[in-house]
Amino acid sequence: MGETSVNFAKASTTALQDPQLRANFRRAMDGLMSKRAVQFADSKEWNAVRALGASVRLRALSKLPELLEKLEANCTRNGIQVHWASTTDEANAIVLSIMQRVNAKLVVKGKSMVSEEMHLNAFLEQHGIESLESDLGEYIVQLDEAMPSHIIMPAIHMNTKQIAHLFKQKIKEAEYTEDVAQLTDLARRVLRKKFATADVGISGVNMAVAETGTLCLVENEGNGRMSTTVPPVHIAVMGLEKVVEKLEDVPPVISLLTRSATAQPITTYVNMISSPRKEGEKDGPREIHLVILDNGRSSIYADEELRNTLRCIRCGACMNHCPVYTKVGGHAYEAPYPGPIGSILVPQMEGLAKRGELPHACTMCNACVEICPVKIPIVEIMGRLRAEAVHPGDSVKGAGSRASKAEAMVWKGWSMTYASPLAYRFATGLLAKLGNAAPTSLPLLKEWTNVRAKPRFASRTLHDLAREKGIPDV
């Protein structure tokens, strides 16, 4: 038995056939890359802040169990109720039970990737609770009944015209307009009404500070602040890796996050949530709940190399700089986290049987590694997962599930030939003589020659030429 594998090749091919989509991504990513470059133009400053950011995340991970306990204790002391969920099902059930207790019918949500991981909207809908995304991008995607295509800019796959059509079609009072200000205003009017009547607000967490029990949330639209302050109950969901040790760890990470994500020195809103409404206060939620989700993270944590995956601060910069993501867009990954980070995180969460192709959705160009603000060795982890997929073992879910006898034999044969000078000379001699006669219908050659001329074997190898020209060999 085995889980069916999600077909990245097929989904990406479909995406490539959509010229509008390709143009949208190309333009958007080019813009994001050049704007980010301006933020980090001073390479000395970049190296310094990056080293600091990486060290904050590394230190947090090195004490993760201890910090999570501290976080729970300090949140509890502050009146924030902490819940632990080892699976997304458990997390959903926790959220639902809180909602049922307060008899919630309408939820407004700030942006949260963990809630995407949980498929929370669909789950709540099944239980008769309306869950409305309040981040503009997420709202657009929700109206379109689609998934986010980017972790920071969920609707980046659409251009203004497409959004204008969607609004006209889905929002009753909408007049057709391509004016961005008018479109934003329209969404704002719809959402404002909902904020006032929502029973519960849900948000993600960018960082949780262990020493103070503070939840930190950055955003630009004020919707995060509305979702976490207007409704009487606030539920925050976070992955267990999002904890940092001290309050002073927050500024460098925020600076790296916002500059890498949207090229802003800081976002319009930075929310530091430390307790529900206190006696005598006029606003704020009466209850705050923090749901801390594992969903495979503790097994990732158990492996010293793979643990680095958990340093991620979800800035999305690796997507913007990934030449594969830029071509196929976020939906092709069919996962909450696309692009380079998704290609290493999702297979570890969901297993290599189902997601083993994602680590191959990569040319190993290292563009992501170069800009990752917390220095995650993304490509090394990619390589590690490729190896795990074809070798049985127990450090990654589904290790060995993609082992193929034929493939293993090819590499074995290759290594025997290439490790023996005699065999190598014989094989390359043969290729030099006969290689060009290979028909383009052969597997591999067929894929190669789709858009390229056939590679031509030289009639004599460099070994031959060097010998003929008398180049010394010792």
Binding site: A9, S12, L16, R22, W46, N308, P323, V324, K327, V328, H360, A361, C362, T363, M364, C365, N366, A367, V369, E370, C372, I376, P377, E380, R386, A387, A389, V390, H391, A408, W414, S415, Y418, A419, P421, Y424, T428, G435, E447, W448, N450, V451, R452, A453, K454, F457, A458, R460, T461, L462, H463, D464, L465, A466, R467, K469, I471, P472, D473, V474
Partner: protein, 266 residues
């Protein structure tokens, strides 16, 4: 493994590789790489000639084959190790090892230490790895070459290999060499640092994405109006010139060693 990711060079820092300590050597080893061996032996020879022209004795060990990268990147590390290990015997002296490919040089310099970790020959592998240089890096940083252009006026562009840039820290060296050539006009690509879509087995495992990537690269090259695209890595070159030829574009793909030799030796 390093928890640090790759060495990250920044364009703007002129030459960010390791600086050569010690005096100029009188001999060097040459590691030709398997792609050069089969597909671009002329470029390989050109690299040897460029080094010889600087008065160096160039040693090409006949026992060499491949750095192991194809298997390593496909998840077959044991097989990669076997092939990498077979190379160690052939570079016993302490001369620098010059490689006409940023990708293979990166495999040796950066990944061999990880690949051999915990193996009995770890120290030896690291010692060999520490002597590895990418060709243009060696020409500029160690030999400080000055070329005299002998060719007719031509407009070219440069494709930077991902691994040369991001694993070897070689960004400005090749362009500095090309700029020494008086009659060569170097027009930079709009997206010089973007991958061409080769990625070894990626090109055949995800041929459609690879095609889209090399398509963007070809369009970028065409926009420069260059007559030739010069590159320092045969993987990229095979991909890009294959696509140029397949699309019947009148632009030639050429390895930097061969281009430099053509321009300076008539």
């Amino acid at each position: 493994m390093s928890t640090d990711g790759t060495t990250v060079p920044f364009s703007g820092v002129p030459f960010s590789g390791v600086s050569f300590s010690g005096s100029r050597p009188d001999s060097v080893y040459y590691f030709g790489t398997c792609l050069v061996d089969l597909f671009y032996p002329e470029a390989g020879m050109a690299g040897i000639d460029l080094l010889k022209a600087q008065g160096l004795r160039v040693v090409f060990p006949q026992g060499q084959s491949c750095c192991g990268q194809p298997a390593y990147n496909s998840g077959y590390r044991e097989e990669a190790l076997k092939v990498a290990r077979a190379q160690l015997d052939y570079f016993p002296g302490d001369w620098p090892i010059v490689v006409p490919s940023g990708s293979c040089a990166g495999m040796m310099k950066k990944h061999w230490p990880d690949l051999f970790k915990g193996e009995p020959d770890e120290a030896r592998a690291k010692q060999v790895a520490s002597r590895v240089w990418e060709l243009t890096q060696f020409l500029v940083q160690v030999l400080n070459v000055k070329f005299e252009d002998q060719g007719p006026p031509v407009k070219i562009t440069w494709h930077a290999s991902c691994h040369a840039q991001r694993e070897m820290g070689v960004v400005e060296e090749p362009k500095a060499l090309l700029r020494q050539l008086a009659n060569v006009e170097l027009v930079e690509l709009q997206r010089e640092r973007e991958c061409c879509g080769f990625g070894g087995t990626f090109s055949v495992r995800h041929p459609e994405i690879s095609a889209a990537m090399v398509g963007d690269k070809v369009a970028d090259i065409e926009n420069t109006g260059a007559k030739a695209v010069v590159s320092g890595d045969c993987g990229c070159l095979m991909n890009i010139s294959g696509a140029l030829e397949g699309g019947k574009k009148p632009v030639r793909g050429v390895h930097i060693a061969q281009f430099l030799k053509e321009r300076t030796h008539g």
